[in-house]
């Protein structure tokens, strides 16, 4: 069980902060998601910001794109730390679901979040 499981949202520009704010506004749950921006960062700076946001863990890292500097920083952190799964293509539905389902392991929470995020993409 990982009641202390946190989500770290890593993005280009101000997207992560805006997404975290939106999830808190929708869910009323605060203090669970932590935004990290790559603005003004070289690779080491992003990794440092990410490490600070992850803290002692466990955590799930949500990244905007499945490539690029945010993704590379997340993958380097994932390589060096256990219980730090990475979910790419972050969207609001997966984050809203995540804040209400943090009782599982980080791996299980990551798989669920990815599935929920995918289910939310539809065409009409």
């Amino acid at each position: 069980m990982s009641e202390g499981l946190r989500g770290v949202v890593v993005s280009h520009g101000g997207l992560a902060a805006a997404m975290v704010q939106a999830v808190e506004q929708i869910s009323g749950v605060t203090g669970v998601l932590f935004p990290v921006s790559n603005t003004g960062c070289d690779p080491e700076s992003i990794e440092r910001r990410l490490a600070e946001a992850v803290g002692e863990g466990p955590a799930v890292v949500f990244v905007d794109l499945p490539s690029g500097s945010c993704f590379f920083a997340a993958m380097r952190a994932h390589k060096s730390q256990t219980e730090l799964p990475v979910v790419t293509g972050v969207n609001l539905p997966m984050l809203v679901d995540f804040v209400f389902h943090r009782g599982a392991t980080a791996e299980e929470a990551a798989r669920r979040a990815a599935a929920k995020g995918g289910e939310a993409i539809r065409t009409r």
């Binding site: 690779p43 490539s67 690029g68 993704f71 590379f72 380097r76």
Partner: protein
């Protein structure tokens, strides 16, 4: 010559390089010149994830890049030479001339560096190194994306 861009960017492969420059230049390959990455299979696999399958990525140390540069220049596809720091690009220029122009695409804040542009921070020594590079015949400009104006080195003093 098929090397259409020589870029210094401490993020190496990322969206601005692959999409911002890669698409308008119709890039077919990226030559990532970095001694550390050239020695790490894991890092190479990671950077390969950042490019579409139609773009080939070559990883080379500075020494190997100097040997491979004639092949890259003879390649019928358009290519980008990418380094993470000034010293590596200067070494490549010295060992594999000519390089007509170098693009400063991203050098971010570190202790000792000062703001020159929002995406370019330099120490005084780094600026002088770029001045020497330009004096040797390689034009140096800063430009994060092709849709923005190129900034001459002199404006970064």
């Amino acid at each position: 010559m098929s090397l259409v861009l020589h870029r210094i960017d401490d993020r190496l492969i990322h969206g601005q390089v692959v999409i911002g420059w890669g698409r308008p230049l119709d890039v077919g390959f990226i030559a990532l010149v970095d001694d550390q990455v050239a020695g790490s299979d894991w890092e190479q696999d990671l950077y390969r994830m950042g490019v579409p399958p139609e773009v080939e990525v070559f990883f080379a140390s500075v020494i190997d890049a100097a040997r491979l540069a004639p092949e890259w220049r003879a390649d019928p596809r358009s290519g980008i030479v990418l380094t993470a720091d000034i010293a590596t690009m200067v070494a490549f220029r010295q060992k594999a001339p000519p390089v007509e122009e170098v693009n400063l695409g991203g050098l971010h804040h570190k202790p000792g560096r000062s703001l020159r542009l929002p995406y370019v921070y330099l120490t005084d020594d780094e600026y002088r190194s770029l001045e020497a590079l330009q004096a040797s015949g390689t034009r140096v400009t800063a430009q994060d994306l092709p849709t923005t104006a190129a900034v001459p080195l002199e404006a970064l003093a």
